[in-house]
Symmetry: C2
Subunit: 236 residues, 2 copies
Amino acid sequence: MEPAKKVSSAAPERRRGSGVRVVYDLLRDEILDLVLPPGSPIDEVQLAERFSMSRTPIREALVRLAGEGLIVTLPNRSTMVSNLDFLNMAAFFDALVLMYRVTAQLAAQHRRPEDLDAIRDRQAAFAAAVRAQDALAMIATNAAFHAAIAEAGRNPYFNSLFSRLLDEGRRFLRLYYQSYEDRLPQQFVDEHEAMIAAIAARDTAEAERLGRAHAEQIVRQIQTLTIGDERLEIAL
Amino acid sequence: MEPAKKVSSAAPERRRGSGVRVVYDLLRDEILDLVLPPGSPIDEVQLAERFSMSRTPIREALVRLAGEGLIVTLPNRSTMVSNLDFLNMAAFFDALVLMYRVTAQLAAQHRRPEDLDAIRDRQAAFAAAVRAQDALAMIATNAAFHAAIAEAGRNPYFNSLFSRLLDEGRRFLRLYYQSYEDRLPQQFVDEHEAMIAAIAARDTAEAERLGRAHAEQIVRQIQTLTIGDERLEIAL
DNA sequence: TGCATATTATTTGTCGACAAGAGAAGTGGC
DNA sequence: GCCACTTCTCTTGTCGACAAATAATATGCA
């Protein structure tokens, strides 16, 4: 209950620069969780009335999302959620594996005690999601876990690329999450523990090796899923 | 001379969606060439009257520049050109060297004939700048040369990170460009030629090795320059 | 019926104006 | 003279409205 703050006309009820962030965060989550699947049209006026604000802050959020490649804008015509292209999958995997390796190694090199706490927190959240068999939570917490490792590496350049790759990965995994009820999640938990141990021990070589193995594990999983999907379609 | 197009009130004289790109490109160049040095204030209204347009397209360009980290905005207060931090220099070098290596290797792997043409064009421009002893042109054409190699590698994720790093590098080099009258530029030309040969021969290992050597060369150069600068200050 | 052209509809891009925040400057009390 | 408070100023954030561009639709003609 606010202490009688300015009972003026129509309660602003939101601080000045906050609108953009709200729209950005929510839209980003909806895109990454495929609530807004690739190709979904983004209508500015619709969003404006949904968030009860003008088109200006909406547009700013959209510009930022476009800068990260999450949406694409056809000039003068329309805006929509970008498709994840299966053509350049190899490039995506190359970048993902390399960033797993590099960030794990740098984390082992530069970690501080508080980094380990943050990493272990994320790992606990991931383990909880696995126990609960909550696939969406698994995907999100797994990405958060690896982002925390990257943070411990303290290289903002790698971090921003890695974040982008993990985002894209969230969309891929969300697309095929049905198979997440198999034995792999528990294996991921164990591999995560091994990575934490190597980072805690400052064993850079081992951390890099584990990062690579974990990444290639994930790549194989996604490839299996996509191939499985294609086989299903061919079987028709 | 336009063929009598719409002699209405105040000739628009610029196409609809073009304003943002003009502002973005020009501002970006001015930042990278240190015409706008780090810390320079960015005033929206001033830019608006400079480009004869409203603040809206200006703001959109600024949002995109902020997304790339070239400017920073203090909420509700001011916007200015971001400082290049000498604290995280090690992280910058790590990322730069790795991207040199990766893009050179990928270029050797995926290059097509037209890529080689583009790379050789950029190399010719760089060599011309060296002959002319035009330091600013050297810096820009060198970055363009390596961007072309990255393009040939066909990995958009690496390319975007590498572009960002090369931009940042342009600012660093521009800061210390006085020493560019020594023997290094010609050595760079030769090293570039060797890289082109390896990429043309599809020798991935050699391309990666040369990319690494070239990158470490540049890192050493920048480190020498910065140390030299610091030593000068200490000598006082 | 089929095609070229004109019209409409819808969405984006741009504009000018206003209001909110945050610092700077000014003011009063001790 | 110094500190707390108020006022002012300046920049940014937000708004509603209008204009341009494009796709969809309608119209006319063969």
